[in-house]
Amino acid sequence: MSEAGITRAAAAAAPRARLALPHWIVGALPGVAFLLFWQWASGRLIREVYVSKPTAIAVRLWDVFASGEIWPHLAVTFRELVLGYGIGVALGLAGGYWLARAPQAARIVEPYVMAFYGVPKIALAPLFVIWFGIGIWSKVTLAATMVFFLVFYNVYAGVRGVDRELVALSRVMGATERQLGRHVYLPAAMPFIVLGMRMAIPYAVIGVIVGEFTSSVQGLGLFIHYASGTYDPAGVFAGIAILLAFISAAGLVAGRIERRLLRWRPPLHANSPEGN
């Protein structure tokens, strides 16, 4: 029996110990350097009213949080994001999976979906406001639409790309169509599904924020838009900073979930001491 398999398994579990500095410090260096440069350059290389400066933005962030004025905006935007992303993912998953398992239907439907995919959904923002009003639903719909197409295509491609020999073998082992879906198609497509869901996070944010730019009563997008309209770059950047924090946090969570769901995949760098 080969030793290679056992060695590989042991190597995959070994802790990384190559860098002298913790990974996050090295990762943060470019960001910190940029902030320092910005702070210095503002007022010297370029007028502060154009780009603000990190200290001013920090003060602004403190103000809006301490005064509590930001919380209603955040609550609305967050709710729109969760709804928009959730609905988009659910429909994209269901639609992509169903169409991939139904090749006759796919032949008819796919060209239409492809055509709509090409339409920039941002252009639909004013239309959605007319249809759904300036409350949360126009933003939710816009975000959901953008998320839907992305997730749909990834799921569709993933399920269609499943190894047919695996499917045939599973049938011989006794799998019904539903069991095939649960044990073969879905897990096989999971890398694509997860990829689609990760890529869709910024799209949901874009959809919601642009929707709020177009017309809104409350929300982070409105906050940014208002700051922009009143020549308040600190406010604009403060809003953007909050967005960045959110997207980073969502990305971290998504990464965790992805590692858990896809732990069966071979590491990218098979011969290095650390895993992917």
């Binding site: 020999e165 082992m173 897990p187």
Partner: protein
Amino acid sequence: MAVPPTLAFQAIAQDFPQPGGGTLRVLDGISFDVPARRFVSVIGPSGCGKSTLLQMAAGLLFPTGGHVLHRGTRVTAVNRDVGLVPQQAQLLPWKTLAENVAFPLTLRGVKDPERTRRTQAAIARVDLQGFEQHYPYQLSGGMQKRAAIARTLVYGPDVILMDEPFGALDAQTRMAMQSDLQDIAAAEGATVLFITHDITEAVLLSDRVVVLSRRPTRILAQVDILLPRPRNMYEPFATPGFNDAYESVWSVLRGVIGKAA
């Protein structure tokens, strides 16, 4: 009353459509039996349709002409009563070893504790204890092959179909696996239909070797191998009678191999 053969191929013909139109007759009237509890190998040149015969027995493909009978009944749908060990181990990459081996039981609704018991027994049968929680990518090629065999043993089908299962392994692992397969087949009383390119492997493992021609494929000969069991996979040439058995297969195959495909 004679026991009917477990698997019977009757006048199997198979045409495949050609890219430029028209059809290619691959199998041209193949008839042979796989008797109960016997080990039958099929050997022949590349492209003669050996894998196609297995797919027909598994109900994944239906012949253009003729029938496959399993226990006397025609195979008309996916055949869940056979075990299939393909060329690549084809473990499901997202399941652990234990989950993979247990998969046929899961599909049949077998619950714990019986499922775990039978899975453990099958894993022990192929000597993979301790690796139950490993994912396929953490197992070597030989280990994956063993796992595929365990997955077939776990639900005890009466026929095991094997498609060149040891072809991709190194010579040492191959001899070990052949030896294990002989033990397992004997212990389980299994009926095996085994496809191979390797005459030595066919002679050492089988009770009968079916030799196929080039396309359009016909049976050139069915050679009974009467060497005593258990046979030594590591020292074939030390077995008395091996040379004659080898020659009896090679004399038929000689005229077929060596020409351009």
